[in-house]
Point group: C2
Chain length 491, copies 2
């Protein structure tokens, strides 16, 4: 018998109807009120014939309506394809086609892009939020119980080669992630989580899932704003906030000598390696930063520092959450000894069951139930993880993942370019930014390359610089030696 538990929103609205579940700008919603909004939205979606097992893309902003849409699709048993609205229409179309989504729901701000997508992918019907609001509510049979093995959400992530892959996240993945986090951070009746990260990323969606499972309010921000975030953390209303390094930087720069409220108990720092200097700065200011390590494939955190170790093990991402496991594999696939670096591999009920329709990628990624992250790190004698490097070629820029291969592929579409290599270069604001290196028989202008890329790539993926060189350094196996590209920057 497959494990199932009651429909989360229904159960939460039944158990604690009058608790606050969402705060957005000046407005707040109890769980009972949220349920009403969600059921209203679901009734409208039902009139569009959205039903169990269908895949529905959402191209929306951080807003209450997006939350209604997410829960409404869960009520109907549809699988949600989360779309990053910073991508180009070409990139989004790929994800919708690849996941065989049949419907796209979008915010009116993304009207143009939605229509471009519709032009390119005839298999999809598109509806703006406004159009949905105008639908008549139709009666529907909501899902009574969530099967833990059933897919809840799909998020695309790129790899070292080829096209982005759709990560399947089940209800069970989200459940175990939420309860694993609670076992590490604890669960207080006054907890409230500030969500200033995008809901289309696992960092944001996981806050939403925790909110419903814990019975805890989410303070939702449409966009990250360091001034508002600081004010909230000083007000005593917030106990936990998820950040990436670039956000924390901006908050610290503005904070000066002021302090956060003593209610604030956890700054969960994910999305790329933290800088020791920043961690020391937080320690000196008494800001409780817990470094964490996770990815789309692990449904957010899988390794996190615990409260008691956060100061003792500065720079470490901590230990696995209780239901999860961690190992380091050397290049010869041997278990590393303490202190020895290798590939980080993980296992646990929060880890994805695989990528959509990617037999080969799945075969490569999973070994005996363990997931190969491709990231490099070591574990010290006491079992604490130190992440040395994300997948050697992954560029994390302001919390967004950028894959060199994706940019290289676009650049190589230009006839004049014979070879291309992309690497991440340190940047004071974004952590890292992409630099492109090109080889051509004739002299090319940087601006021409960038203009071409702009039509194909999300703005945050555009190389900060395009540098023409004689030849891309390669090893014996003809693989690009990305690290060797660094030398060309200052030539």
């Amino acid at each position: 018998m497959e494990e199932s538990i009651p429909n989360w929103l229904m159960q939460r609205a039944y158990l604690t109807p009058s608790r606050i579940g969402l705060v957005f700008r000046e407005q707040s919603w109890t769980f009972a009120h949220m349920k009403e909004c969600v059921f209203n939205f679901a009734g409208k979606l039902s009139s569009l014939s959205i039903a169990e097992g269908m895949r529905v893309g959402i191209l929306m902003k951080n807003s209450p309506e997006t939350i209604w849409a997410i829960h409404a699709l869960q009520q109907l048993g549809a699988e949600i394809v989360f779309l990053n609205h910073r991508l180009t229409s070409e990139e989004i179309t790929f994800q919708l086609e690849d996941s065989e989504a049949s419907i796209l729901i979008y915010h009116s701000d993304f009207n143009d892009i939605a229509h471009q997508i519709h032009g390119d992918y005839k298999g999809i019907s598109i509806y703006s939020q406004v159009e949905i609001e105008q639908c008549t509510v139709k009666k529907f049979a909501n899902v009574n119980e969530f099967q833990l093995k059933k897919t809840c959400s799909i998020m695309y992530t790129s790899g070292t080669t080829g096209k982005p892959k759709g990560v399947l996240q089940t209800y069970g993945n989200h459940w175990w992630s939420a309860t694993g986090s609670a076992l590490n951070l604890g669960l207080h009746s006054d907890d409230s989580w500030l969500c200033a990260v995008p809901l289309f990323h696992i960092s944001g969606l996981s806050i939403l899932m925790r909110s419903i499972i814990y019975g805890m309010p989410v303070y939702l921000m449409e966009q990250f704003d360091e001034q508002k975030a600081n004010a909230l953390l000083q007000s005593g209303k917030i106990t936990i906030m998820s950040v990436v390094s670039a956000m924390l930087n901006r908050m610290l720069n503005l904070l000066n000598d002021e302090k956060y409220h003593e209610n604030f108990r956890c700054m969960l720092l994910g999305g790329g390696a933290a800088r020791l200097h920043q961690l020391e700065q937080c320690r000196d200011k008494g800001i409780p930063v817990f470094q964490t390590y996770g990815m789309t494939e692990t449904s957010s955190q899988i390794v996190t520092l615990s409260p008691e170790d956060s100061l003792l093990k500065l720079g470490s991402a901590g230990k696995p959450l209780f239901p999860s496991q961690l190992k380091i594999l050397t290049e010869t696939d041997r278990n590393a000894v303490a202190g020895e670096a290798g590939e980080i591999i993980v296992k646990g009920p929060n880890v994805t069951q695989g990528y959509i329709n990617r037999i080969e990628a799945n075969d490569k990624a999973f070994v005996d139930g363990w997931f190969r992250t491709g990231d490099i790190g070591y574990v010290d004698k006491e079992g604490f993880l130190y992440v040395l490097d994300r997948r050697s070629d992954l560029i994390i820029s302001g919390g967004e993942n950028i894959y060199p291969a994706e940019i290289e592929e676009v650049i190589l579409e230009m006839d004049e370019i014979k070879e291309a290599g992309v690497i991440g270069v340190e940047d004071a604001i974004w952590g890292k930014v992409p630099y492109a290196f090109i080889v051509s028989d004739r002299r090319l202008e940087e601006v021409d390359v960038l203009n071409y890329c702009r039509t194909k790539l999300a703005a945050y993926k555009l190389p900060k610089r395009v540098i023409q060189i004689e030849a891309i350094p390669r090893n014996g196996a003809n693989k690009v030696m990305r690290r060797h590209l660094l030398q060309f920057i200052h030539e």
Copy 2:
């Protein structure tokens, strides 16, 4: 793929080695130290050839060694048959034979009874704690991951008819119970749970499981002592305590006008219906009592009041834990409306998968994945459960379950007795105590009946009174109308 998570004790000792896990008398153990003790014990058990899949009975007291034994058997993958040491050797022998246990571990205080069992059931090998301590530690391969569907423990419970049945409790049952409780009560870094209930009952074992899963100390008492319990609750060291009504009574009587420490946040009151007077008394004294409803088959609590409702809904057992569900069935198997009484049926991943080798009982107990508790209650408009009556014939006496059928069966073994009926009668100290009614052609002495029962029944099951009457009242279907027996008490 079956869900599995890392071996709990191993993971806990890895994640938070230096946290205190157990306090007993003046001594305390960190989780790292506990792991050492457990592995030492497991090594000794291994020398007795205890291995994966075997069933091992334990007849032990509340003591650290019992905790080592429980965890050690989990390390070896053995299934633990928990034995109530207040039972007679005949009762225990039945449980060991029925569960096909091949080994019995016992405390030296139960030496005589263990040897009687060994005499009656040749299939069992018996070892005292002292004998085990003297064994040489043998290397063993400990279980790396706990399969959630695998049986962890077996506890016997009686029904309305027939012999006691072995309730199978899986690792998953315990896990979901522990996490469901944390989602309701919260989880604080300073939490510690006072265990003054027997470890061989689910109320005690579940505290042990929570301790390992939460990383929280258990304060273990060999026997309940109201004076020591009050002192601990006043010391600030304890935040949660599990009690039954009779224990709470004794604590309140001794407490007078004193107060518990403000750290103490939850008196979890289970094991039979609470008396409103007692709840009001606690409310007036500011003691945070949360009524709860559960049983061996639900691996402890399944319905519990939440902190925010504890004062508003005095007398209610609350709402289901997040992963669980509750319904009331009328006599015609219709879903009851709000306020309408009927049988309480429950569902959830903490509910047992069934009784050992009891096809018929399992068929009767489970309907479409729901478990029929046999208890009577109603749910109010807001979804709060009020338990009216435990299985109409169940007598809960000082937290122990007593089944009239069991006592009747013994009494009817006496040749002179033609009919027998047993009911529970209100008792100021124990909540309820059994009264027996007998029918015979000649006048029988109460003491003779009791002397016979004493050889067959645990002391706490002995009828407080044996009353001879003309005839047992029966309905048209010849079923004993137990309620009608009450009238004979004062005749």
